[in-house]
Point group: C2
Chain length 200, copies 2
Amino acid sequence: MAYPYPQPLQELIQAFSRLPGVGAKAAQRLAFHLLAEGREDARRLADALLTAVEAVHPCPVCGNYTDAARCAICEDPQRDRSLLCVVSGVADILSMERSGRYHGLYHVLGGVISPMDGIGPEQLRVADLLQRVRSGGIREVILATDPTMEGETTALYLAKKLKPLGVAVSRPAHGMPVGGSLAYTDEATLEQAFRNRRPL
Amino acid sequence: MAYPYPQPLQELIQAFSRLPGVGAKAAQRLAFHLLAEGREDARRLADALLTAVEAVHPCPVCGNYTDAARCAICEDPQRDRSLLCVVSGVADILSMERSGRYHGLYHVLGGVISPMDGIGPEQLRVADLLQRVRSGGIREVILATDPTMEGETTALYLAKKLKPLGVAVSRPAHGMPVGGSLAYTDEATLEQAFRNRRPL
């Protein structure tokens, strides 16, 4: 018995199920929704996809997404150009900007060092980072890779490369998350939180 | 501080988050994935969306999706044209076809009667169904709406309309799911399973 769906519907379901986190059932539900009640949404999504892949590219300076020659943050005259925050991905910039507490510039690595996955410094925007620091004007580099093993390794590697260039190098504090509870905090975090305790 | 993403990226995230079951975080993850490593996937998804909304429409006979004048099942000469299975949605056809046990035709209602949501028989493909049965050749109608309150109501309503037309009307059996456990079966299902017990 042949599959009862017409070819274009099968292809739509397959295209959805290629997306990360979208299983076969969800892909089918999405396709059915768009055909049943969301034909306008489907056209809008198709337009948005084509426009985005056409217009959006990494900022040549920092790696943030932009549809211009440079990204909005690099172009913003209000930002502190002496402060550089190194993050692994573009999504990290959004989290930082949401906090509203950081006013320096960014540098997106495009990942973290992970020998298991064959990712070394050459696969990341490390040479760009060093070049950027060498060309001057930067006072401090904050290494804000995730507090995972790969993130720590990457931060240590970058610190070793950056310090000889005469910039301050720092890393965000580890500790208990705000609103967290001691009972549910893992040992490694607790250990860091106690070691880095501050006088009141 | 302005949102740091370029307009086309914001629009892509918004288009994704309009889809059912896709939250703001997931929409962002999808957009980032497609821009970072899936530009070909993005173009393929856009193509699939445009082709599907253009080419795929409900079969005028049964309501199944098709890109032709009639759907593959209605056109299949192997199917038993005297047997009609009434389902609430197109997705139900896939489940039925996967079981591989049904070889009749289908009729998609496009929902179930639900006065709370303002859905009565006029909002469903009920007149089409009665017309289809009246035009002859159908021996039995199986009312396979879901075993929910609305599904039961819809089945009872259709049974009342169909029986005077001289066709057999049936409903799939209720009972314990295959592979289920008595301890985890709800009371209503257990009651039906015991009432409809079969001699061995």
